[in-house]
Assembly symmetry: C2
DNA sequence: TTACCACTTAACCAACCAGTCAACTAAACA
DNA sequence: TGTTTAGTTGACTGGTTGGTTAAGTGGTAA
């Protein structure tokens, strides 16, 4: 009963875009509504607050992201290929966003998490959950790679955390410099951390 | 002539504190004035805008930080001791801030830089300058360590960038998790990246 | 065909935002 | 001691903030 609408989806996507390009603090409800072509009353019909929309937008964005993660880290692939695909996807996404918005955007979860700090408990809980999930993909691939003997990582969990922090740090660096070429070193950096002399892909 | 005042310094410190604990966006001129116990009129007597104060506060905070960097990375010390002192200082600072504000704050320049992205050119120029300067300390110590043969870093510049991105990523991680213990792995992580089996300090 | 209700619309609110200003105060120096 | 002037004060502005409300509109399902 009643009419249908895609305003909810348009709001989710506008919010994600604005938070990613700018920040949570710099994104106002009016801006979101304008971008989504939705009137303010409709906004509050679908979401009870700006915070609630932000949470839903992160959740929504993550779901799409996880599909790509599942593909990149498919257990059907050799572990080194998984890692290589992950890096390729990551860079491709940044290239796409730079083409779209003229800026290197980095990782939205890390950027948003840094911004709000531990100021908002519920918010932070969601972000921490996603980041922990992300880390698991890396850890599993590195553990498998170690088991195959193609990588030196007796403590796969510790190694994954290093790779993860490094990649997030580098993404933030690229965002601050607004320079895609900074990401060129990601491939070699991960190789270095994992002690791979040759290509990630075995010949 | 005319009276003197330390209101300028109080404003600089209040701004630094509020930006570091929260964010630029969440910090209002009223908050700054309240924290610094300065009336708004006085604020605009010393600084022409909130932006201008933020820039001055970063500059002011960096100057104090650089004194500690110069001490930690003193060429009089063996390169590995420099790196160890750097990590010790970094952690000590985070411990101090957590005791003071109840939160792990991470690196203010990286956090602020991520927040404003490339949206504010002048802002970003200052932040990039500081980060580039910071990187030089690491690079020099790693190059010296390699020359002494105590570290495996034929490309000291590349290695320094990895260590730097890793440390910034880890700091952001600790901020998001609001957990000091995350920083415990910094020591081992840097050792791993630099290929040091034993303690950083030679026996 | 009609009744219901999910959705839409625009006007509205109090609080807050960055920034202005003119009158005022007191410390430093001659 | 008197003059200068850097620093102080509080009231003010116009615009924006997140959020509310009440009256409508039109698609859907019975």
């Amino acid at each position: 009963m009643g009419r249908t609408s895609d305003a909810r989806e348009r709001l989710l996507e506008a919010m994600m875009e604005l938070i990613w390009v700018g920040s949570f603090g710099s994104t106002s409800v009016d801006h979101i509504c304008e971008r989504a072509e939705v009137k303010k009353g409709s906004f509050y019909h679908f979401f009870e607050s700006k915070h609630a929309l932000a949470m839903a937008a992160i959740e929504h964005g993550w779901d799409a992201f996880q599909v790509r993660l599942d593909k990149a880290f498919s257990v059907s692939l050799p572990p080194l290929v998984r890692l290589e695909t992950w890096i390729k996807q990551l860079i491709a996404e940044q290239v796409e966003m730079k083409a779209k918005h003229g800026r290197v955007l980095g990782c939205p979860i890390h950027t948003l998490g840094s911004e709000v700090g531990a100021m908002d408990d519920i918010f932070q809980k969601v972000l921490k959950g996603k980041l922990a999930l992300y880390l698991r993909y890396l850890e599993s691939a590195i553990r498998d790679a170690h088991a195959e003997g193609v990588v030196q990582a007796p403590d796969a969990s510790a190694k994954a955390k290093i790779v993860f922090s490094y990649s997030e740090g580098l993404l933030a660096h690229a965002r601050i410099w607004n320079d895609l070429s900074i990401l060129d070193s990601l491939y070699d950096g991960v190789k270095d951390i994992l002690r791979l002399d040759n290509s990630l892909i075995p010949a």
